[in-house]
């Protein structure tokens, strides 16, 4: 049994596996299947200042080794989260990352301020949701706006601040450096890649929103590359995600530089994926005689 615990921005995780924001709701549904305490952390569903209804359906499409979603940040609003969801989650012996978003920097600030008086462990600021027309993705695709929203939220919170980056950019390393300079304590990546599918029988896009965010195994090689580039570009910790569906994948992302790994779409294929991945990481470390998972973080030896 290897030591699986990791520490990110002084916050302890029992193990490096975290269900990604948006696939795990606020944890209640998967708790039917396994105790949440088996997880390293939980990234909660992206939450905004006010309740949002999200996009029209269909919101889901399948793609080769992946999927598209255009949920569009449906959520009950931060007050509901703080009153109804967070207290419950905080009893679960698992590190909680409150994923937040907003259409404007001011909205993000207000959401962060509301979390300030809670016991949530970390804030994950999503500047990269491709499914919301105003704001969202726009922040994440330029260094200036990414830095600006980070700077403002930084001022509003003393919690460890993770900024979640968009892969739909020319240079993710540049964006990462900007948000690091603007005060982010960590970065997480990748959010979904913008994609589209068309029903050739009707001639209409499958998603009612026309386009949606692609995730799942298909995007994994892009995630490895981006995590590697970002880990080489910044000094703050990197939380990796994108297409992870096995312990093997998680180890690859950690070798590329991730201090922890989020698991998204894989949970739809196998609802036990996050707990299975924890076990698979442990098996790998044991088989190699590696005593702590920390030894593999950033250990890739490039040519």
């Amino acid at each position: 049994m290897a030591d699986l615990s990791v520490k990110i921005c002084d916050v302890d995780f029992k193990n490096p596996i975290i269900p990604a924001s948006g696939v795990f709701g606020y944890g209640r549904e998967y708790e039917e299947l396994f105790p949440l305490s088996k997880l390293g952390g939980i990234a909660t569903k992206g939450t905004t200042l006010n309740r949002r209804t999200g996009n029209l359906s269909p919101r889901i499409a399948e793609t080769p080794a992946g999927m598209l979603n255009s949920v569009g940040l449906q959520n009950p609003g931060i007050d509901h989260f703080i009153e109804k969801e967070l207290p419950y989650l905080l009893t679960k012996d698992v590190t909680i990352l409150a994923n937040i978003a907003g259409s404007t920097a001011e909205e993000c600030v207000k959401v962060a301020e509301k979390l300030e008086k809670t016991d949530v462990h970390m804030i994950e600021l999503n500047i990269s949701c491709p499914n919301v027309k105003q704001g969202g993705a726009a922040f994440g695709t330029s260094c200036e706006t990414a830095a600006e929203v980070t700077r403002q939220v930084r001022k509003a919170t003393t919690k460890p601040l993770i900024v979640k980056l968009s892969p739909n950019v020319t240079s993710i390393a540049d964006i990462a450096r900007s948000v690091e300079d603007a005060g982010a304590d960590a970065v997480s990546l990748i959010n979904t890649l913008l994609g589209m599918r068309i029903d050739i029988n009707t001639g209409r896009p499958i998603l009612r929103n026309n386009v949606g965010g692609m995730s799942g195994p298909a995007v994994f090689p892009i995630a490895v590359r981006m995590v590697w580039q970002v880990a080489n570009a910044v000094k703050i910790p990197v939380i990796g995600m994108g297409g992870v569906s096995s312990g093997h994948d998680a180890i690859e992302l950690m070798m590329a530089g991730a201090s922890a790994v989020q698991v998204g779409a894989a949970i739809f294929t196998d609802p036990f994926a996050p707990v299975r991945i924890v076990e698979e990481i442990n098996d790998f470390l044991d088989s190699k005689g590696i005593s702590s998972v920390n030894e593999i973080i950033g250990s890739v030896n490039p040519w």
Partner: protein, 256 residues
Amino acid sequence: MKYTQGKYIIIQKAAIARNIYSFTISCPEIARIAVPGQFVHIRADGFTLRRPVSICGIDPKKGSLRIVFEIRGEGTSAISRLNEGDVIDMLAPLGHGFTIDPDFEKVVLIGGGIGTPPMLPLAWIYGKKAVAISGFRNASAVILQEDFAGTGAETILCTDDGSAGIHGFVTQPLENLVKSGKIDAVFACGPAPMLKNVAAICSKNNIFCEISLEERMACGIGACLGCACKTKRNDEEYFAHVCKDGPVFNAEEVLW
């Protein structure tokens, strides 16, 4: 336990019409708790997303479930290639089922095409109190009529082209039943236009009506918010989720 995930053995497989398969699956812990209207979420080898399929038979004593599904694309095609003795990976039982009310004296069950299977467990429950109307494109698409007859329900068969049963849509016999006497409830599953028409008839005649909806799903359990459907509750618009709040909804709640 509300639902669970596991690999279960297929104990019987049959092709019951062109591209339509019936699987009976041994899964005692699911069969024990499943109710009519719920569905199972099946992993299709090689695909990221599971496929939702309604429960068509529940046998808590034998510990088995039955599903009936049509090949529509590659996922259902992969599932159809499983054989007796193979295991099938299911997350189940999921969703909110049909209302079962012992006070109902007369109910109408309406199934359109591949929407017919989920009505069968309900027919077992309402038995002689039920009239089961089933509609299909044509005679070769007809399924499950003997099964419905076996439940004690009265059966009415319609086909779009008249090649079997009544020539026409399921709404015609429904209108006749409505005219000829009191109906406590209508339960329906099938294509959206059919459901809309059924809902309109019930609304006009003030009949309690529940319908089973379809939407593209990811998690199947209410966590991902992928399967939204517009409903109204207490006169407020509300995005419900087909997998958790449904698939069965009160027809009055659904905003088309």
